[in-house]
């Protein structure tokens, strides 16, 4: 059995049959995971310094020099690497006095902070499978982003207390700005306008309080209110759509969950994308008290917008990117500022960031060529073993060598 590191579900029931130069047959892997597995045979990186092919040792030496000479380095990425590598990365940031951040400030950092600090109640996906009778996808489309979310946990499987499952005992509600693939399977769908989630929260709060809602179809909102009040165990799966829509008004979601939990138990599991995005936030929280945007430049770890990627990309003088492709994924202005910095990219596969980087250090792919562990989207630790042999070192080993060298 292998573990798929294609998304934060970390499916651990993957059966792989190998043949020379490829996979003979892979069972239970979704299309997204299958593409992820195929990348191991795709365009891989090689050790490069300033456009010249060098040895792995020379690339690591040059990377250490860049980090040593930098006064304000930025360590960025982390969502696609193991917990062990993330832990060494935080040590490296501390030793360098660097700023360390992931992409969560652009994505679901505000929500993740609330879940990790206990402000919002949470549970595991196994609890959802065994007990949940209502699943609410809000601003998320797991059919596309996490294809096995519905079949492994939230809607279709039979749990210990949900033997009749989706046929009789489970209800799926989707709130989204568009008719996504998940909506096709939902029992109830509420379409909101972009930025209209605050109005929807106000309407749900109204129906829970027995008032007539001011938003949307009143009859359907009252029907939703009745369903929520009758719920035995509810799970909310907010996605980037909700977090981006609410922005600085996340307290509205806090209020709704507080009100719901006065009536029935409702838990929150953020639908994060990358396979160990939650792991980085958890580790950083455990070590510094903050989930992201941390600077070790002073005596104490500092946190705030000034430590974010957006600011650091303009104020830092070197950047180490690992487990991420910021030049493809970050906003144009930030990506442009990053591209002007001397950049070290640690990545198993070719990306826009590795193409633009001053130093490229190839690494083994976690889950396929290297073992380790990661936190699933619900915080459950999943370990994985390599299924392929490689001479490439894992991220953890590369970071450990950099830590010694600086």
């Amino acid at each position: 059995m292998a573990v798929c590191t294609g998304c934060s579900l970390l499916c651990d029931d993957i059966e792989v049959a190998l043949k020379a130069g490829g996979f003979d047959k892979v069972k239970n892997l979704c299309r997204k995971g299958h593409s992820h597995f195929q990348t191991v045979w795709g365009e891989r990186t090689g050790p490069v310094v300033d456009g010249q092919e060098v040895s792995q040792d020379q690339a690591i030496e040059r990377a250490a020099e860049i980090l040593k000479d930098a006064k304000r380095p930025l360590l960025l990425g982390w969502a696609n690497t193991s917990l062990e590598a993330q832990s060494v990365g935080i040590d490296l940031a501390r030793k360098l006095g660097a700023t360390i951040d992931d992409a969560s400030p652009f994505c679901q950092g505000l929500l993740m902070e609330r879940v990790l600090t206990g402000k919002l109640p949470t549970c595991t996906l196994d609890d959802v499978r065994n007990f949940a009778d209502v699943s609410l996808y809000w601003g998320s489309d797991p059919s596309n982003s996490h294809p096995r979310h519905l079949s492994r946990f939230a809607y279709y499987p039979r749990g210990s207390k949900r033997q009749k499952s989706y046929e009789e005992e489970r209800t799926m509600i989707v709130v989204d700005v568009r008719r996504s693939s998940t909506v096709e399977l939902a029992d109830m769908f509420f379409q909101v306008l972009p930025g209209g989630d605050a109005d929807f929260i106000a309407a749900v709060t109204s129906v829970l309080d027995g008032k007539i809602p001011k938003f949307g179809d009143k009859k359907r909102m009252i029907e939703l209110g009745k369903l929520l009040k009758k719920t035995e165990f509810g799970a909310v799966f907010p996605g980037p759509g909700l977090v981006q829509s609410l922005g600085g008004k996340m307290d509205l979601l806090d209020g709704l969950l507080e009100r719901l939990n006065q009536l029935v138990p409702f838990k929150v599991i953020p639908v994060v994308g990358h396979y160990n995005a939650r792991g980085f936030n958890q580790l950083l929280l455990d070590q510094t008290g903050f989930v992201n945007q941390v600077s070790f430049a002073g005596d104490k770890p500092a946190h705030g917008p000034e430590c974010s990627v957006v600011e650091a990309a303009r104020s830092c003088d070197a950047c180490l990117v690992i487990g991420s492709d910021p030049l493809s994924s970050l906003p144009f202005g930030t990506a442009g500022a990053l591209s002007k910095l001397p950049t070290i990219a640690i990545d198993p596969c070719r990306t826009l960031t590795t193409d633009a980087a001053s130093v490229v250090i190839p690494s083994a792919m976690y889950g396929l060529e290297a073992g380790g562990s990661a936190l699933r989207m619900d915080g459950v630790k999943v370990g994985f073993e390599p299924i392929l042999e490689t001479d490439l070192p894992p991220d953890e080993e590369i970071l450990r060598r950099l830590l010694e060298a600086v």
């Binding site: 029931d13 993957i14 059966e15 996979f23 047959k25 892979v26 069972k27 239970n28 892997l29 979704c30 299309r31 997204k32 995971g33 299958h34 593409s35 499978r129 059919s143 596309n144 294809p147 096995r148 519905l150 079949s151 492994r152 946990f153 279709y156 499987p157 039979r158 749990g159 989706y166 693939s181 998940t182 096709e184 399977l185």
Partner: protein, 152 residues
């Protein structure tokens, strides 16, 4: 998916009964159920029906890929989500510790599995739709988010 009426509209509608049925509508239903072939309608091969014949051949081509139960899998649309694998009542009964609880199949008696990122159909005789006594179960098609599987 193609309907009997669409097929009927493209047949000669001459009521020649050479196919053995009393009407072209009955032949259309038989063509849809893959009990008859286009060659069973000699009138259709008259040159004046050449356009209709071509359209019928195009219309009925997807049916050739269907399993004995009429299941057609459009691999290019499949997400490999496994909803059908977990929802299929035969899979659930045959594999209570695997498919039934959301895991990959652990039994060889299951009908639907996900291989190489897309769904595959095995053991088709176990399907509830199999044979003349089959039921109109649609658990697999109803749970597909991308309409990658359908029945004739």
């Amino acid at each position: 998916m193609v309907s009997a009426m669409e097929i009927y509209k493209l047949l000669p509608n001459s009521a020649c009964k050479e196919c053995g049925f009393s009407s072209c509508m009955a032949l259309a239903v038989a063509l849809l159920n893959r009990e008859k072939k286009l060659e069973d309608c000699p009138a259709l091969f008259d040159p004046k029906y050449a356009d209709k014949l071509k359209k019928l051949q195009e219309l009925l081509e997807p049916l050739q890929k269907a399993s004995e139960t009429g299941l057609i899998i459009h691999e290019e649309k499949c997400f490999g989500c496994g909803n059908c694998v977990v929802a299929c009542p035969v899979n659930v009964a045959a594999d209570p510790t695997g498919c039934a609880v959301g895991q990959g199949p652990k039994s060889d008696r299951v009908i639907l599995v996900v291989e190489d990122g897309v769904v595959k159909c095995l053991n088709v005789k176990e399907c509830r739709r199999f044979g003349p006594q089959g039921t109109q179960c649609n658990a697999c098609t109803a749970t597909c988010p991308s309409k990658a599987i359908e029945f004739v």
